[in-house]
């Protein structure tokens, strides 16, 4: 029994090290001036460098802004499309439901290189390449499968029975939606929002290709720095990425958890 426990603990420890090691390395890269072979530790560390860079570098600020704009736009568009779809899939039985179910997952199954080059091709035709809506649409396409699945799993728990109750008690459809549907399904909604945010923030090829270079987000900007060997600047972008991903997600999580009892 004891040896089994120790083994388990070792696996925990190994997993934690493997997950956290890259984070630690990038953190150290971002604050170290020189860190080259064969030194195991940066020659000297400058804690202020990161913040000075964040405040003064216009490129960084532009990237931050692009990332946030696209992420917020993607979350909004994704939820606007995914919510009604998930409602239809969970509440109704209709012809072609199975087909629709497969359709939802297609953007996830077809290799992204194929989806994106096809999409770029048609965006050029619509004149949407390089536009905000074009890039947000490309991101949304990849968010939809996750968002619909997460919302569906939540909606299917209760189906429409509490909405029927609410309407029966005299609430309008809008009141029902905001007072019954949303609160009952906030876990699914939270998951969908978070996942869309993550997918949009981490998107590289879609942003680059459809954006025509107009939207150089944090994750896009990390690329040239990495290939050119400017690891320190790449790491600075990496840390910024972590901050603007983890902090909002953490805040959403805290806000949702403390706003009333968690359901299901």
């Amino acid at each position: 029994m004891a040896s089994k426990k120790i083994l388990k603990l070792l696996v925990y420890l190994l997993f934690a090290v493997l997950v956290l090691m890259p984070l630690f390395v990038i953190f150290m890269l971002a604050i170290s001036k020189t860190w080259n072979y064969p030194s195991l530790w940066p020659k000297w560390v400058d804690w202020g460098y990161y913040f000075r860079f964040l405040i003064t570098n216009a490129e960084m600020q532009a990237s931050l802004l692009s990332s946030m704009e696209l992420a917020v736009g993607t979350v909004v568009l994704t939820i606007l499309i995914a919510y009604p779809t998930a409602m239809a899939l969970s509440y109704y039985d209709f012809k072609g439901k199975k087909l629709l179910n497969i359709l939802v997952y297609l953007p996830m199954i077809i290799p992204s290189i194929a989806v994106l080059t096809n999409m770029d091709f048609i965006m050029i035709k619509y004149g949407l390449n390089g536009s905000f809506f074009g890039v947000v649409s490309a991101h949304t396409l990849f968010c939809l499968p996750y968002a619909i699945k997460l919302l569906y799993d939540n909606l299917i728990l209760w189906k429409d029975k509490y909405e029927v109750t609410s309407r029966n008690l005299g609430a309008t459809p809008l009141q029902t939606f905001f007072k019954v549907t949303i609160p009952l399904n906030k876990n699914g909604l939270q998951g969908a929002v978070m996942m869309s945010y993550i997918v949009s923030m981490t998107q590289y090829l879609g942003t680059l290709l459809i954006g025509d270079g107009n939207y150089i987000t944090l994750s896009v900007r990390m690329f040239p720095f990495t290939t050119e060997g400017k690891y320190r600047i790449a790491a600075v972008y990496g840390i910024t990425f972590m901050l603007v991903t983890l902090i909002p997600l953490y805040l959403i999580d805290v806000w949702v958890t403390h706003k009333g009892r968690k359901l299901a």
Partner: protein
């Protein structure tokens, strides 16, 4: 309350979006792949782009290599993720909660993030190499094995594992928690040993979730560009890099050929996902799910 009009209203945003951006794109590339591209003065329909592609040794070799690679890396991620999910599903010790939070971290970060860390850690002049030099196992960075941009795609596999193992853990633990102990107790009461319960009850019930995770990981590994571009080996090119390079060369006469490659890729991926799902229906546990 559930009227047909409301259903149509609910489905229309999704259908319009897909029609506008996904299917029209698919249709356009389909037509183009048949050689219909009036912009370039090409108006004759033929299948020769497909037959050319399917006879192109270079393309087929790259295709096969990428397929084996995606299969292997997605399988590894699912295997390790499943083992860890079972190991850590129980709420019986204080580490489970922080562990689960920790597992969510890699899911949130972009691939480039881990690539950067791997370069600093595992390249020939990286930290591991430095450490081995310090303690005298190797003499100089030249004797450190090539782990990134190597022939065996080790760097890419490590990157995908770092991202995908946690993804598998997170999705399986959620299912395992929902399943709680209900069926384990029944099996136990009917005389099954722990091992029998695992193989006959827990694993089959989890199988649909594992298959879903596998398909998602496989498709990603098969068709995503950025990691093979950063950590791939020039002599062992991967399919997404191959197609992207062709596409951005800007040679418009090449477009029908590229589109035919895209469609071959798409049809293959759908067929493969379908095959995996079909196979999984015939495995124990198949009745309960799939996508």
């Amino acid at each position: 309350m559930l009227t047909k009009r409301k259903l149509i209203l609910l489905l229309s945003p999704f259908c319009l979006f897909m029609l506008f951006f996904f299917f029209s794109a698919l249709a356009k590339s389909l037509i183009t792949s048949f050689g219909y591209y009036p912009l370039m003065g090409m108006e004759k329909l033929s299948l020769h782009y497909y037959t050319d592609a399917l006879n192109d040794k270079v393309f087929l070799r790259i295709f096969f290599r990428t397929f084996i690679f995606a299969l292997f890396s997605a399988g590894m991620a699912c295997f390790i993720g499943t083992v860890l999910a079972f190991l850590f599903k129980r709420n019986d010790n204080p580490f489970t909660k922080p562990f689960f939070k920790l597992a969510q971290l890699p899911v949130m970060l972009p691939h480039i993030f881990i690539v950067l860390a791997l370069i600093q850690l595992l390249s020939q002049t990286g930290l591991v190499s430095s450490l081995l030099t310090k303690i005298g196992i190797i003499h100089s960075y030249n004797s450190f094995p090539l782990l990134l941009n190597d022939q065996w795609q080790i760097g890419i596999i490590l990157t995908y594992l770092w991202k995908e193992v946690p993804f598998v853990i997170v999705s399986l633990v959620l299912v395992l928690r929902q399943m709680d102990n209900r069926y384990r107790i029944v099996a136990d009461n009917l005389g099954a040993t722990k091992w029998q319960t695992f193989w006959k009850v827990s694993l089959p019930l989890l199988m649909p979730a594992i298959v879903n995770a596998f398909i998602i990981n496989f498709s990603f590994n098969f068709g995503s560009y950025e990691v093979p571009y950063l950590l791939g080996n020039q002599t062992k090119e991967m399919l997404p890099v191959y197609i992207y390079d062709l596409y951005v060369q800007g040679d418009y006469t090449q477009l029908p050929m590229i589109m035919s490659l895209n469609l071959i890729l798409s049809v293959f991926s759908i067929a493969f996902a379908g095959l995996v799902l079909w196979l999984s229906k015939h495995l124990p546990g198949g009745h309960t799910g799939g996508i």
